[in-house]
Symmetry: C2
Subunit: 188 residues, 2 copies
């Protein structure tokens, strides 16, 4: 759990009691490549922290597998559109290599907010940052070409290319595999 506490301390340092309270509602999960951490259709009541590995949020659009986002080591992953609304999610979380994940029980976490304002503040800040990242990514999607985005992606996340299949990267960029292949060809 050290990496998790270290991650937290970057947002909002916690008292020992608050740290312990979070650890008490968290479990470590080991999960094999290509397995679902959470299946499509369930209501999200867990916030995950990736200790080791890579995960993606995905869903099906007209029968086609779409990757909504990737998450890397030492980051949080959650389907917020279910977590914050209580609605079942049409999205699943899948692990793309053998991974070690910390699962934080969100129901119990939200209860802790009443006792520990510092925990509420911590997660407020964590999700504010995630919100900002999402706004910035939306700008990318909407107003940059697929080629610009692909170039930015391999610059900012070079490991992604080695670990994730191109079809997932293509759907993440909102284009087909064929178009991504063409872009790769054009760059060379």
């Amino acid at each position: 759990m050290t990496s998790l506490l270290q991650y937290f301390s970057k947002f909002n340092p916690l008292s020992k009691e608050a740290e312990d309270a979070i650890i008490k509602i968290s479990t470590v999960v080991k999960i094999k490549k290509n397995q679902d951490l959470q299946p499509i259709g369930h209501t999200c009541k867990t916030i995950y922290f990736i200790n080791k590995g890579i995960a993606r949020i995905y869903y099906y659009k007209n029968g086609v597998d779409i990757t909504e986002s990737f998450s890397f080591e030492n980051t949080i992953i959650a389907r917020v559109e279910s977590l914050f609304t209580g609605n079942p999610s049409r999205k699943g979380i899948q692990v793309l290599e053998d991974s070690e994940i910390i699962a934080i029980n969100a129901t119990q976490l939200f209860d802790l907010y009443d006792t520990y304002p510092e925990i509420e503040r911590l997660f407020r800040k964590i999700f504010e940052k995630a919100y900002v990242d999402t706004v910035n990514r939306m700008e990318g999607i909407q107003f940059h070409t697929a080629e610009e985005q692909y170039i930015a992606l391999i610059k900012e996340q070079p490991t992604l290319l080695q670990k994730v299949s191109l079809k997932h990267i293509a759907s993440y960029l909102g284009i087909t595999q064929v178009t991504l292949s063409r872009i790769r060809g054009a760059i060379r």
Copy 2:
């Protein structure tokens, strides 16, 4: 300020003292059509609530005016990618008709978080909802055609069409005016 307090109460009812504390750091602004509420380049230190009117967040991409989002009566508008990071924003907020806006001083608001955990909770919930809306909109942008989005837009926000020029709607949808005209022609 009644409408603002009513808006708050839907997220997290406040004590009288907390309400007063927020009112104390808020001012009412009247602003004429097409004026900037906040210009491009400034660091966002204000959260706006639209009492009356319509506003949009916009910026320039290769010299072209792009609408990132619209906001309607009885909603909050803020450039979160500046508000939460302290970075200057490349985006501006413009009003699209004569409007009445409540401006909440964000610096002072964030200070209130220490004294009033209920206020911190209120804005946590407000921005959690905004985050969810953004995630859902991103899904729309990336995986629905412009025509699907336009049809959804006029269904969900029929007033938009009467009040906003088509070029703003086009850039909001990530397409050119010409393409939007074709879509409108095809629907008829």
